[in-house]
Subunit: 207 residues, 2 copies
């Protein structure tokens, strides 16, 4: 499937065929593509928890407003990220870079050190890049998806043993659609989202 077709046909689906399972090659392609999303300074800090245990799915569902995709989708993944990955043996992220490696590692340590807000933003940003790759790869495989943030983030984190220095970015359900997407709720025009060089300035009234 072409990129633009995957993007334009991607809609959030909440009803999935609970009897369908993904093949091993499909699962491999999903997570290979997810891991190919960019990370700043190649810190590769995104961690994917595939929820394959039906009992765990059943425990998560009431934490997510009882939404059916939690138990019914072929794949449910909690996208998380290691907020401290930047300082966990960062040499490994640049081990193939030769003489340039140590210079890049010094740069990345200086870039993140002491900037907790940036470390956290980076986790959310990278996790979302990867999640978008998952959603579009799902389309390519003939599947649909539902990105989710409406759940008890702390409780789900506890259920998956989230380490203290990681964050939950979102959940994502993927599978064979068993119902249509909702109608589009109300698209804003491009003129309210795309600007050149600066935000439109409010007009100044001259008294």
């Amino acid at each position: 499937m072409q990129v633009s077709e995957a993007i334009s046909s991607r809609r959030s689906i909440k009803q999935f065929d609970a009897g369908h399972r993904l093949s091993a090659p499909e699962i491999d392609r999903l997570y290979r593509n997810a891991r190919l999303a960019p990370t700043s300074f190649n810190i590769q800090h995104v961690r994917f928890i595939r929820v394959t245990d039906p009992e765990l799915r059943a425990r998560i569902r009431p934490l997510a407003f009882d939404q059916p995709q939690v138990t019914d989708a072929a794949e449910l993944v909690v996208v998380t990220a290691d907020v401290q990955a930047w300082q966990k043996n960062p040499q490994r992220y640049w081990r193939n870079a030769g003489e340039r490696g140590p210079i890049i590692v010094d740069s990345l340590l200086g870039f993140y050190r002491g900037r907790e807000w940036l470390q956290r933003d980076e986790a959310i940003r990278s996790g979302a890049f990867a999640a978008q790759n998952l959603m579009l790869t799902a389309r390519e495989l003939g599947y649909d998806s539902c990105p989710m943030i409406g759940f008890d983030i702390d409780a789900v984190g506890r259920l998956i043993g989230l380490p203290d220095d990681h964050v939950v970015v979102m959940m994502l359900a993927i599978g064979r659609a068993a119902g249509p997407a909702w109608e589009r709720g109300g698209d804003l025009p491009a003129s309210e989202a795309v600007f050149e060089n600066a935000f439109p300035q409010p007009s100044v009234s001259v008294a």
Copy 2:
């Protein structure tokens, strides 16, 4: 271009053909696809500032470690998001939803109200979804891209007139590559990024 090919061939490029410009249909496709990325509760809060003014490019470049893609790439976009979009006439995001509309709007107001961390995370998350669509659409159009966070975020925000209730998510350069990507720095194995049901627990030593 197929989705998987776009994902696997996407690499960060820092050298661009400074003489190349995108056509109007290419620009339209980029931002149409960017705007089709999902947002939670359809709040559509991502705002794209296309930096087309060469003088503004020249002012941004020293704020971004003098990286050449800032001035040389055909397209430079500052991806931002309106952190308060959820409470700015949210009825418009669900105007086509009939009787369901007011119920959804009540839900979204309750979801975001008082949760400043979630409002900010959502801005970063949605901006990153959209940026990934831009990067993959660039590949489909035969172009390359460079996602950037290494710049003076506050200073760039001032240059583009960023409103106080918006955040800068990242910058993205897009254009015709004039040089190769770096070798891959050092890929982590899938076994360090993809887990089933829970994070691996550290082994407990019994005294």
